[in-house]
Symmetry: C2
Subunit: 508 residues, 2 copies
């Protein structure tokens, strides 16, 4: 979704821009483009994440009769949240590809007029409203219809921008401008951009008479890139690789299978984490500041007493915040060791982020239990599941990266490297802790909330402990190897050699 | 507020880190530090901006008797919002200085353990809650006390980090590490960091027996850097400049008067704009999705009819969103022409952002008027004032930049440059439009809302028109000069010369 990057086709601005001194222009263009990209990353991550709000604010009215109906409602909303989150992420990935066309492409609109970019941004920010309609009225097609219209409008603007850029090739990056296969490029880029909106057009059509088909088509938007990749891989395994076309290296630049830009994956992830933290803050600012009149009447003007009443909320807040912070920390240290993010890693990262976006729901569930104690056990289990899924996908990123460690990892983090063992331990901590908490709630069901809070507050200390344990274990291994080493006829390593050598036994 | 940058003093991690290959380390350290800084910029801009929420959600209960008391309440809240926004900005500016100490400083904590950074981040995100308490109970000292405690805790952690970094000088940037005046550096940096918390300590003390003094002291935190600068400037004018100490060039690096990092000013501003857009989205998602039961009962299941009822809200939403978007656009094109941001420009930018943060209030005021028509005129005027102040401070940034154009501007934007005239026109648009709308409401008070919405929706078109008008005016001027030029005995300019020559008549 390339809102802010729309060039303005009616004015001859680009002629002016290219008249300036080329050095300055290039420097300005890149810097500017960088700011544009950060802003659109931030906006898209916000849009993807705020969709958890209708889920957290599911109000269960006291006259609701069936437990089942509430559960079904919540399950529907979670499903819609996941779907919309993934669709926005697909749009973001398309934007990542698309903005690789050339840094200059991001430059023109701001120099001239704001209109196309404004319109696009406004359409994007309207998406959460259509999501909200979908979540609240899953059976009414209006929400789906509006959503599809937004996606189609955005796709149309993106396609126009690409056509415009290929019509004035000096807007493209020099590599593409000089390429003999520019027509092929255009075709591929347009294909990537138009695919999603085309499916949405079909979904909008179906929404008028048979809405389940619309949901199916929208799910296809999410899985299509991955299905087509898997299909290609299977075919390559069965038939052997297709003969590469003569210009394969160039075309590959726009292939969906190429590694993603690590910086943009980080920016998008940071946006999600920051918004999740904000949603927690907003919740506590809105719900836990006591009413002035209440304080005067119920607590005889004592603010401290009034605050004391929402003590469990603060506990839940600190627990959830620690979880968000530590997951961000794990994500951060993970990406510190990663050099390039491949497509499957990007998918796993998206899935992890989708569940991180669910953490405000976990907070809401575990802080609201005081009102409905009978739901306590279930809330705690949902929260454990959210934390487990968010962290297990992070773990999966790491294992996937290890499969292609030569391409994806920094040398220091490769198998047997210094940071390798600690990384594994760090990423395994949250999955283990949440599984443990889940298991405990099965045995000690009446203490489930206490167990959950204890888990959330204990994990930060576990991180500290872990560092010490891993160090001790490594020192133990080294000592062991020192004893066994001479038997295996290893040359005695020098001090510098020791620092570089693998600290774990070799894999085989 | 340097939460995420806390090194972990108990473990010997940094010895490990420095053992790696130096090239990799440097590259990793810088990239990592960059991500950390972006994240803290985002977090601080969020914290500063969400404080508008208690103001927008001021509920005016029906039994409220006096108009005056509501006005007084709103005015108090706006004042507290502005104060807290500015205090967070001061903290951010201190963080900007502080993180200049060395890129490696940001590296250590993530490699080792999360504890100090986690604690600091959690303390920072707790600030909005203390603000909320202050806003809701301005006379109860608890809010002030908690706020001051947070600031002191953060300051203490920052000071410890700095002491730690100067104790292990290889964590600092090489320039400082090699400097002979390291002790002086430390003193100055500590002075900048400790000043705010020290004032807050005094404020916390006063809050226990005389709370107005606390507000005064907190206001001092904001103005102190600027007052001390103004005092220094006045003294220099009266007495003549102090004799510069021998190491003045080095010490100047940490002076508060040096230009701010343009990238970080941009990141902080982008954060504020993105959050303001989010708050608008959240408002419309929460308030304007009709209730499922209502739709069934009141509108016979017609969702479209139910949505039609909140039509004016959508109009207000699109108007406010266009305003936020265009102010961001103006900010963007402004900073595209700026090379370095001086201290006064930073201050003006902060003030502009403080009022941009007030835009959700303008939205709330102009979309809620349907409930209380008698307040309509006043709401519209408050909204005009917010837009006027937000845009006039942007205009002031530009004029301030022109005063030192050699230092602050890109060559193409200097006086007489190609972009100069258009920039002026662009930045003057919103102040003029909001003043005009304000004046119109005085004459045609019964149409005030219509006027306001017309203004918000007309301005984007005015931007388009402006570009054409400025081009026409410039072409006219050029044609005129072509006629007058030979009379003034100017050499006939060549085509290339023409492109570089000033398009406006020389200033004198």
């Amino acid at each position: 979704m390339s809102g802010p990057q729309a060039p303005e086709p009616t004015l001859e601005g680009q002629a002016d821009a290219s008249a300036g001194s080329p050095d300055e222009d290039a420097a300005e263009g890149i810097q500017h483009s960088h700011r544009m990209l950060s802003f659109s990353d931030a906006l898209l991550s916000i849009i993807a994440t705020v969709m958890i709000l209708p889920v957290t604010h599911t109000e269960i009215s006291p006259e609701q009769e069936f437990d089942k109906s509430v559960q079904r409602l919540l399950a529907t909303r979670i499903a819609v949240y996941l779907m919309t989150f993934l669709i926005v992420t697909v749009a973001w990935a398309a934007h990542t590809r698309y903005s690789g066309l050339g840094p200059v492409l991001g430059r023109q609109p701001v120099g001239s007029t704001p209109t196309p970019s404004q319109a696009c941004m406004m359409t994007i920010t309207f998406l959460p409203f259509t999501f909200s309609l979908m979540v609240t009225f899953p059976e009414v097609p209006l929400g789906i219809f509006l959503f599809c219209m937004c996606v189609i409008a955005i796709g149309a603007v993106q396609a126009l921008i690409v056509l415009y850029a290929f019509h004035f090739p000096h807007l493209l990056s020099p590599q593409i401008e000089r390429s003999a296969h520019r027509g092929l490029y255009r075709q591929r880029v347009l294909g990537i951009i138009v695919r999603g909106p085309a499916l949405c057009l079909a979904a909008a059509g179906f929404s008028l008479f048979f809405y389940p088909a619309s949901y199916l088509l929208m799910a296809m938007v999410i899985v299509l890139p991955h299905v087509s990749k898997a299909a290609g891989w299977c075919r390559a395994q069965l038939v052997g690789p297709r003969e590469p076309p003569a210009h394969s290296v160039e075309v590959f630049t726009f292939d969906l299978h190429e590694p993603l830009s690590k910086e943009r994956v980080e920016a998008f992830s940071d946006g999600v984490y920051a918004i999740v933290a904000t949603l927690l803050i907003l919740d506590i600012c809105e719900d836990n500041v006591p009413d002035a009149k209440d304080v005067k009447e119920k607590f005889q003007g004592s603010l401290v007493a009034a605050l004391g009443e929402s003590g469990p909320h603060f506990l839940a807040y600190f627990g959830s915040f620690a979880t968000v912070g530590l997951l961000w920390f794990a994500h951060h240290s993970l990406f510190l060791h990663i050099r390039r993010a491949t497509q499957p890693m990007g998918l796993l990262n998206t899935l992890s982020l989708a569940f991180v976006g669910g953490l405000p729901l976990a907070y809401q569930q575990t802080s609201a239990f005081t009102k409905q104690p009978r739901d306590e056990l279930e809330s705690v289990r949902i929260s454990c599941a959210i934390i487990f899924l968010a962290s297990i996908f992070q773990f999966a990123i790491w294992t996937t990266a290890l499969l292609q460690e030569g391409e994806t990892l920094q040398p220091s983090a490769r198998f047997g490297g210094r940071e390798h063992a600690f990384m594994f331990a760090k990423l395994a901590l949250y999955p283990c802790a949440s599984l443990l908490a889940f298991a405990c709630t099965c045995v000690l069901s009446s203490f489930s909330t206490a167990i959950f809070h204890a888990m959330q507050i204990a994990v930060p200390f576990a991180f500290l402990l872990l560092r010490l344990l891993v160090r001790l274990a490594l020192a133990g291994l080294r000592a062991l190897r020192g004893l066994v080493g001479p038997v295996l006829a290893r040359p005695a390593p020098g001090a510098a050699d020791e620092a570089q050598s693998p600290l774990l036994p070799a894999p085989c």
